[in-house]
Amino acid sequence: MEVSVIRSSSQAKISKTELGCRDLRFCFGKSNDKNKIFSRKPNSVCFDSQISRFRKAGLRFTLKAVHSDPILESKSPATSKSLDRLRLFVGLPLDAVSDGNSVNHARAIGAGLKALKLLGVEGVELPVWWGVVENEMGKYDWSGYLAVAEMVQKAGLKLHVSLCFHASSQPRIPLPKWVTKIGESQSSIFFADRSGQHYQQCLSLAVDDLAVLDGKTPVQVYQGFCESFKSTFSPFMGSTITGISMGLGPDGELRYPSHHKPAKSGTITGVGEFQCYDTNMLNLLKQYAEANGNPLWGLGGPHDAPTYDQAPNSNSFFKDHGGSWESPYGDFFLSWYSSELVSHGNRLLSLVSSIFGDTEVNVYGKVPLMHSWYKTRAHPSELTAGFYNTASRNGYEAVAEMFARNSCKIILPGMDLSDEHQPHDALSSPESLLAQIRTTCNKHRVEVAGQNLASGAPGGLEQIKKNMLGENPIDLFTYQRMGAHFFSPEHFPSFTEFVRSLSQPELHPDDLPSDEAEATESVQTSSDPNIHLQTA
């Protein structure tokens, strides 16, 4: 529903107030007097007075979501039709800025930006690395990223910034040296698996609020980083920078690092492992078990879970029938494991949304698409990654609700994946999982933005197009990622074709620009059918 509202509104340049009202009515629909709502002046009063109520009711998201997009859109009326309709972003190279704070391949990026602008792409996504900026604790060097932002601005493109609090192995961008150094003496700041192996690409969520970083908690450090970013980039906020993704875990995604090594393409991914074995996680588990009156359950993770590369049936935990996951213990453990992840997401997203709440920038978080084994009843890949989503339980409810609470939007990767191209024996279904998450998000009115997993997946562009233009369209998509392959003769022509095909479809009459007055009217008359259409 949100999607539809914003799409049409961005075309019609409806003012903020009116939009607000429109959504308020959605939330409180029948109890409100329609006429009152749509009379302009009293309306803004009621708008304000209601905000606090919504906050308490955990419904602020609606306002917030409406709040940002149309305003931004109306600021840039010069953008072409296709852009108003579907905002396509392209990711810049992960190492656009690496060590030394200079822009790598500046000339190539410059040429690339120009090409993208000419193609009609809306903007670019820029990964901003903790390990690049904060070389010393509390000291931030943004110069390389400022240079990129300026290039993007000069090119007339928008910028979506991804704040990365993790490390990357390819290209190699480590965590800040001082963090790594702390980790050397204090490995418990990292996640660990059952065999005690640490995952050193990001901090364990269990230390979020522990003062493990030279007397500061990771959350405080993230906060300092975000605030420095905000003030440094304030000239770009809302104009060039339209969105920010908060890094939430491995690869920036809200999940446990249930796979330490990146999956090899074409092979069947194993189920992964639970990551609850670092000291702090175990402490949390212990407390939780004791509080639940089952102290013995708090001594460790499931003993009968398979290892990383194994199939679900190789041990008894994930078995489709009679697996421990369905036992009371299983429920106990999985509830805890998943709720820790959601709380972690909540901590970071509430932090970042409070920092950026007064700007016109949208805040996003990335939720992974753990599609392997989706066709089994247990969905083991999702369980190990921290999503308690099984055949009988929608684990994304809590996640979507958490995003809604923080007025954040969700980025979903993997929109280029189609079931057809998955290994048959993997029992995987990216499309069904995507549909499930999106439905859940719709229900909680969390807007979803899309991303592809990798450029060059077979049939990827068609699948993206399907997702973007289908009956439940995405209006913001980030295509990953600029680089040699992206511009190669094998890839770039098809990408060009893809972008052009996105702008080809005829505009629906509702999407055509119209006067504000007309638009207001059409809102009144067309809003109800819209709702039904979208929620149906």
Partner: protein
């Protein structure tokens, strides 16, 4: 917000990625990180060539941060209230050579292709091969054995091999490729790449191509048969392959069949060659201009101290302003030494060299009431250094220099220099590109898309690709410099001459009557040359059945109605003396026989070339030839020669060579080339190596119900196809343009002069460099008048062809008529502005009663009774010529 619009992107692509030298600024580490702290930003790598750097404006010399500003002469830093360093970019040209050599390797068995380059740089040969029987322009990877050590395969179609110096002392970086000539490889294709800058060196936007099998040699003729160098024409073929349509593939298959037939008894034979071209690399050099302003405590005056490390004479073109409007004023004296007043608008001061180092500078003493100091730097007449296309601005009031103030925080400079040449090349490429796309849509009827934007995108993507690909590792780039590829100096090709040719048709249909035309023309030689013509076309010289010369009989008998062979030689000599090149009119399509065969048909030849009826095409029943079918249309008045016969071609090549040697002809006007395949023409031209050649491919335009069609694409396509078949070795008369001019002028339908892509509608719109534009010749006009140009409108026609690209040809009758001075004036405008066969036309009006165009941004013209004046924008236009229904302007 969106600072750059798409329009400007398209217009000015060269300026977009100007290099940026990075000035490494170490941010002070000791700063505490309060969040509003503005760090000095090293935003060195920026879009659009800017190198902005936030500088710190030290108010009253507040801290040690001044150290950042560098080694500036700060004798009394206490008083300095403004200080700034402007990084500036200059382009320095580095010239060098690169060569291509094909020769036998030491063991005399294999062959070796060597490519070398003398410019410093990290040169990579990016290359591939094509195999016999390949169609299209795709590359393949060469066989493993052919790859020199150190080669890296690029996908499955190319190889990259670094060029190396054989020893330290060598000037050239070289790469050698050995190959076996008996392999199936048809050609080696390559481009040269400078890995340091990502710049590609191509041949006019195409690959270099070294054909390995194109030539089929007669066994007895290998000695002394000089070959045209294959690269240039090969490159054209490359282009042509894209442009080529069905007819061409038809031609290809013919070619193949001939080759296979011939190769049964002939060996294919390679010839070595060596070709050297100059190559210019533009290297951007970063310099600094530092400015400090201080107040003299004694006098209360403001002293501006300007210094730079730019070598050579640097003139500061400067003034002051009173307010933010930044209107230039000349301040009161005193001025620094070496100052002159420029047009009462500004002052010019030559910077004086400093005693230390390579710096120069000046001190400007000003009254304190001035608001700001404005300047630009002038390096030479064409090179100015500006600040973001604006003046450099230095605030003089101490209070105004607040840190972070807009205007100072965004310091950028860029060079505007005379780039017309590179721009011209880019324009040419674009010209070709859009010609290509216009054809595409014509052929495939695809929907209207902005092909040019897509092309732009593709170019940018290719640029990005080459850089990303070449540097997978992440090395921080300290200095990113960009080079503009400047093409080697004008290359003469038989299709274009120098590109600046203007052709005179030196006879009419009556010229044979006096019997001493050669002598009459000789007297006019210097006169014709003085009008600005560079090439003259003489009448057909051979013995002929008809007096005009177009029914040749004995090709080696050059005594004709125009004069004797001795007189001809004398004429050619005089023409050479006045600096003109001479074209012989050669009739290759047909030849009149000396004798009858047994059936009483005239098809047996005599004289030195005593061919029999095998030399005559088989498909004209009048002449009962025993040769193959004609490869073109038939001319029915005489036996058509069968050019598919090896002995015929050999004889004709020999004859052309003899004409070159004996008479001194520089090139050819080829009669009735519709009659045989253009591929044979290519063969003849490669054998006779003319300076210039033009073919007469004259067929009818398209008419519907007696009215000429607006779209003459199929007509020009046929001409382009022919040029293409000659591999671009010859130009062709632009009959299409003449036809369209007829209708446009006669019927006042000037809209016809723009095709649906906004380009000229004739051959000149598609392949300008090969279009020889004309409005009249001995057939169409003169006393024959087969297709006479609309009377009284000739000067409009000349105003068109003499201002437009293509190689214009002027008919003798018009030169020696009352049009003479007007034609001479048009030619001088053309020469003065350097309009050439590849100049870029921008059609600004094509309406019922007026057509107007701007050529190379230098010449504006209009024809037709309607009104047009060039825009009064940044360029100032002044009227250069005016005549009946035409006007020509040039930039002043």
């Amino acid at each position: 917000m969106a600072a750059v619009t798409i329009d400007s992107l398209l217009q000015n692509p060269t300026l977009l990625f100007r290099p940026k030298a990075k000035v490494m600024l170490k941010p002070p580490r000791s700063l505490d990180c309060s969040r509003n702290r503005k760090l000095p930003l090293s935003r060195g790598s920026c879009f659009c060539s800017f190198n902005p750097r936030r500088t710190i404006h030290v108010v009253r010399a507040s801290s040690s941060e001044t150290a950042l500003i560098g080694n500036f002469d700060t004798s009394s830093s206490d008083d300095i209230f403004y200080k700034d360093i402007f990084p500036v970019k200059r382009i320095e040209k580095v010239e060098g050579k690169f060569f291509i050599r094909l020769d036998r390797s030491k063991d005399q068995h294999d062959w070796q292709l060597t490519v070398g380059c003398s410019l410093p740089g990290k040169w990579i040969l990016h290359w591939g091969v094509s195999y016999l029987g390949d169609s299209g322009s795709e590359w393949d990877q060469p066989p493993k054995g052919m790859r020199p050590p150190g080669s890296i395969p690029i996908k499955d179609y190319a190889i990259e091999t670094p060029l190396k110096k054989l020893s330290e002392g060598d000037i050239f970086h070289e790469v050698k490729i050995d190959f076996n000539p008996s392999s199936e490889i048809a050609a080696i294709h390559f481009v040269l790449k400078d890995e340091e800058t990502g710049a590609w060196y191509q041949h006019r936007g195409m690959d270099f191509k070294v054909p390995l099998v194109d030539y089929l040699e007669d066994d007895g003729n290998t000695v002394g048969a000089k070959r045209g160098f294959g690269v240039l024409s090969g490159a054209l073929q490359q282009f042509s392959n894209v442009l080529l349509k069905s007819e061409a593939s038809h031609a290809d298959s013919q070619n193949n069949s001939i080759e296979s037939k011939d190769s049964k008894n002939k060996n294919r034979c390679l010839e070595g060659f060596y070709e050297e071209q100059s190559i210019v690399k533009e290297v951007s050099v970063g310099n600094l201009v530092s400015v400090a302003v201080r107040k003299s405590p004694e006098t209360g005056k403001v002293i501006v101290c300007l210094e730079t490390d730019i070598p050579g004479d640097v003139v500061v073109h400067w003034g002051v302003c009173r307010d933010d409007a930044k209107i230039w004023e000349i301040p009161a004296a005193p001025y620094p030494p070496e100052t002159t007043v420029f047009k009462n608008k500004a002052l010019r001061t030559l910077l004086q060299p400093k005693a230390t180092g390579n710096r120069s500078g000046a001190l400007f003493t000003l009254d304190e009431e001035h608001f700001g100091f404005l300047f630009v730097l002038k390096l030479d007449d064409n090179t100015w250094l500006k600040f973001k296309e604006n003046d450099f601005y230095v605030p003089l009031l101490g209070t105004s220099s607040v840190p972070g103030q807009y205007g100072q925080s965004d310091i950028t400079t860029e060079e505007i220099s005379s780039k017309s040449y590179t721009d011209g090349i880019i324009n040419e490429i674009r010209n070709l590109v859009s010609g290509l796309s216009s054809e595409k849509s014509q052929k495939t009827k695809t929907k209207e898309v902005q092909e040019s934007i897509l092309q732009e995108i593709e170019q940018l993507a290719a640029e990005a690709y080459s850089i990303f690909r070449s540097s997978i590792t992440t090395v921080p780039e300290e200095v990113v410099s960009e080079t503009e590829t400047t093409k080697p100096a004008v290359k003469i090709s038989s299709g274009t001459g120098t590109g600046f040719e203007i052709l005179c048709q030196g006879f009419n249909w009556e010229s044979h009557k006096s019997g001493r035309w050669y002598m009459e023309l000789k007297e006019k030689a210097s006169e014709i040359s003085s009008l600005g013509f560079t090439v003259i076309w003489l009448p057909p010289p051979t013995e002929s059945v008809s007096p005009e010369g177009y029914m040749p009989k004995d090709l080696y008998n050059l005594n004709s109605r125009y004069g004797t062979i001795a007189e001809l030689k004398e004429l050619v000599k005089s023409l050479h003396e006045v600096g003109m090149k001479v074209l012989g009119d050669v009739v290759l399509n047909h030849r009149c026989a000396h004798f009858k065969n047994q059936n009483g048909v005239w098809n047996i030849f005599g004289g030195r070339l005593n061919w029999d009826d095998r030399a005559v095409v088989a498909d004209d029943p009048h002449f009962q030839g025993r040769g193959n079918k004609s490869s073109g249309d038939n001319f029915h008045a005489a036996p058509n020669i069968d050019h598919s016969q090896e002995f015929v071609r050999k004889d004709l090549k020999e004859w052309l060579g003899w004409l070159r040697e004996e008479i001194g002809y520089d090139g050819w006007r080829l009669d009735f080339v519709r009659g045989f395949w253009g591929g044979y023409v290519k063969d003849y031209l490669e054998a006779s190596e003319p300076y210039f050649a033009v073919g007469e491919y004259w067929d009818s335009l398209s008419y519907t119900y007696g009215e000429m069609d607006h779209n003459q694409d199929s007509h020009r396509q046929r001409i382009v196809d022919w040029i293409n078949a000659t591999n671009g070795t010859a130009g062709a008369f632009d009959v299409t343009t003449k036809g369209i001019l007829h209708s446009a002028l006669e019927r006042c339908e000037y809209w016809r002069l723009s095709d649906k892509k906004g380009k000229p509608p004739g051959v000149v719109g598609w392949w300008p460099s090969r279009a020889v534009t004309f409005i009249e010749n001995h057939d169409t006009g003169s006393t024959q008048g087969h297709w006479r140009f609309p009377g009284g409108k000739e000067m409009q026609g000349y105003a068109y062809i003499l201002t437009h690209p293509g190689t214009p040809a002027v008919f003798y009758d018009h030169i020696f008529s009352h049009h003479r001075s007007e034609i001479a004036n048009l030619i001088s405008v053309r020469n003065r502005n350097g309009i050439h066969c590849r100049s870029l036309v921008k059609i600004v009006k094509a309406e019922r009663d007026v057509y107007a165009a701007i050529i190379d941004e230098k010449v504006a013209m209009k024809i037709g009774p309607g009104y047009y004046e060039p825009p009064s924008g940044s360029q100032r236009w002044s009227l250069a010529l005016e005549g009946r229904d035409y006007k020509v302007w040039e930039t002043s």
